[in-house]
């Protein structure tokens, strides 16, 4: 890149000895100018942002969603609960369109059954704590699985401290729930079963239809966290006999800070509200509904419904490409979770004899994650991988590749090549790999003296 300023400042520096002293400041100012420009150039180089391959953590907003939201941020800013003027009426109409034609339509629900919340975490909290507390007089048991999202597990922990009994069902090694075990665990005093549709770490799709049938036959409410599933796989709350469902905006190319909860009306599910106030959202979630966010969620849902087939086909193709490329070039790579009963866009691979964190750092120009975003701060391996029975060392070396609507073939190819290159490099440095190459069985080694 040209820098005539360098010539300028060097010229100034050379003639500097001829200048009187008070002009010495010009010389130092010129060299600091030079430094500034060099720093800017270096920053620009680092501004090449990494490839985004973490679509389970969050997704970029679709431009069509942003286009739908902007008028409600700027011009149509009324409170949708204001009954007396046009600002309120137009906001309310937009909110109701989002509720009815978009969100409800995507899941086959009635618009009166959709409650807007601040996200899937709030929806999960509302569903679990709300239902359990409402029916606590007669029913004191809740069932969930060990691979649920942290907000579900934490809500259940709070319920335990309130005196409820909670069963955390184990899952098989392929990540799926054992239906006989579920049926056996349901007691006469069970009020709620909570199983997530698609797992955010390993991408496994639970047999929701069968679970719904079991719960309906036993008269137990069925809640599912569909944050990762909605808009990606076809869902119908009536066919699948779902009573409560959590929806997240920012996982389906919508805005962050909004979600929804589906609460069935026939047969009626009663909830104790978590947030009390003016009685908005049928009294279940008081507070002004953020119109632009609700409109954004609605737009995201309607776009997802239109694009579901195209996106699914494309994401499957890209995921296959990634997995085939990696697995054909390097040995000892394991895909966690059931190979067929899964959402293709979430690929969790364990690379044996390679440490996960070091691989992530080596792949620094690709944005990836090992495990979920909410657990990435701790050093422990993911509890989901532990629940599916992965070995401790394999759990430490797992990486989650997220593929979405905006991923390109070039990005997938680059990620695969970089991954192969770095895994080979890290394995070269690994003494464990050396031992394996020599034919030593690592499990037979006594690491400590007893």
């Amino acid at each position: 890149m040209l820098s005539p300023s360098r010539t300028v400042s060097s010229r100034l520096l050379r003639t500097g000895s001829w200048l009187p002293l008070w002009l010495g400041s010009v010389r130092s100012a010129a060299s600091s100018l030079q430094k500034e420009l060099i720093k800017k150039r270096e920053l620009e180089k680092d501004e090449l942002r990494p490839l985004y391959m973490d679509f389970q953590a969050t997704t970029p907003m679709d431009p069509r969603v942003l286009d739908a939201m902007l008028p409600y941020q700027v011009n149509y800013y009324g409170n949708p609960h204001s009954r007396t003027h046009a600002y309120g009426w137009e906001s309310e109409s937009a909110m109701e369109t989002a509720r009815k034609q978009q969100v409800a339509d995507l899941i086959g629900a009635d618009p009166r059954e959709i409650i807007f919340t601040s996200g899937a975490t709030e929806s999960n909290n509302m569903a679990i704590k709300g239902v359990a507390r409402f029916y606590q007089a007669k029913k004191r048991h809740v069932i969930t699985t060990q691979t649920e999202h942290k907000c579900v597990l934490d809500s259940c922990r709070i319920l335990e401290s309130e005196g409820f009994s909670v069963t955390y069902l184990p899952v098989r090694t392929d990540g799926l729930l054992d239906l006989e075990l579920l049926e056996a665990s349901i007691r006469p005093d069970t009020s709620l079963v909570s199983v997530m549709t698609v797992n955010n770490e390993i991408g496994v799709k639970q047999p929701i239809k069968e679970i719904g049938k079991i719960c309906r036959s036993k008269g137990v409410f069925f809640h599912t966290d569909a944050a990762q599933a909605i808009g990606k796989i076809p869902l119908n709350v009536s066919d699948w006999k779902i009573d409560l469902m959590s929806i997240s905006g920012h996982k389906i190319y919508g805005p962050k800070g909004v979600g929804a909860l589906y609460v069935r009306r026939r047969p009626r599910v009663r909830l104790e509200p978590l947030q009390n106030g003016g009685g908005q959202e049928r009294g279940l979630r008081s507070g002004t509904v953020p119109t632009p966010l609700a409109v954004g969620l609605g737009a995201a849902c309607s776009i997802a419904q239109q694009e579901m087939e195209y996106d699914h086909h494309r994401v499957s193709m890209l995921a296959n490409r990634l997995v085939q490329k990696i697995m054909s070039e390097i040995p000892d790579v394991i895909m966690n979770g059931h190979p067929e009963q899964r959402y293709p866009g979430c690929v969790n691979l364990s690379f044996a004899y390679v440490e996960g964190e070091s691989l992530l750092m080596a792949l620094k120009d690709v944005a990836l994650s090992s495990g979920s975003a909410c657990t990435s701060a701790s050093l422990e391996p993911s509890y989901v991988l532990r629940a599916i029975g992965a070995d401790e060392d394999l759990a430490h070396s797992s990486i989650r590749f997220g593929i979405g609507r905006f991923t390109t073939e070039d990005e997938v190819d680059y990620t695969a090549e970089k991954c192969i290159q770095q895994v080979r490099r890290l394995r070269e440095m690994s003494p464990l790999w050396e031992m394996v190459q020599e034919g030593i069985d690592l499990k037979s080694i006594k690491w400590t003296q007893h």
Binding site: P4, V8, R11, T15, A30, K40, R64, F406, T407
Partner: protein
């Protein structure tokens, strides 16, 4: 209303591709180009004029979305840096001319460079 002719459809396709090229974000740009191309290809065999008209209407609406969002999703941070750089650059080019007269009166050119030096500093900060 008469159904859109083949020429109109192709013209809309070309315009959409041209506008999609303007996205500054790599992911949005590649998605828009790919989606427009695939959508037109998938609907290429449609004969019924009512459906064609409906699809064209949808296409025109999407064109509007693309045009608006190209403006809104431009990365402002990077544009600023580039603008400041071009400022300094143009000024330095001007200064460069001033220095071409070094063979002549050295003192005269020195006084020039003092003045210009100050100007460079003031403009870039």
């Amino acid at each position: 209303m008469a159904s859109s002719s083949r020429a109109q459809v192709i013209s809309l396709y070309r315009t959409m591709l041209k506008e999609s090229q303007k996205f500054s974000s790599y992911n949005y740009r590649t998605y828009a180009l790919r989606r427009v191309r695939d959508a037109f290809r998938a609907n290429g065999k449609v004969e019924d004029p009512v459906t064609v008209e409906r699809l064209m209407e949808e296409g025109r609406r999407t064109l509007g979305v693309i045009q608006r969002q190209v403006r809104h999703t431009t990365d402002t941070q990077h544009t600023e840096t580039r603008q400041r750089q071009t400022h300094t650059l143009s000024f330095c080019v001007v200064l460069g001319f001033c220095f071409c007269q070094t063979n002549k009166n050295v003192l005269k050119s020195l006084s020039f460079c003092n003045f210009s030096g100050f100007c460079v500093i003031f403009v870039s900060f």
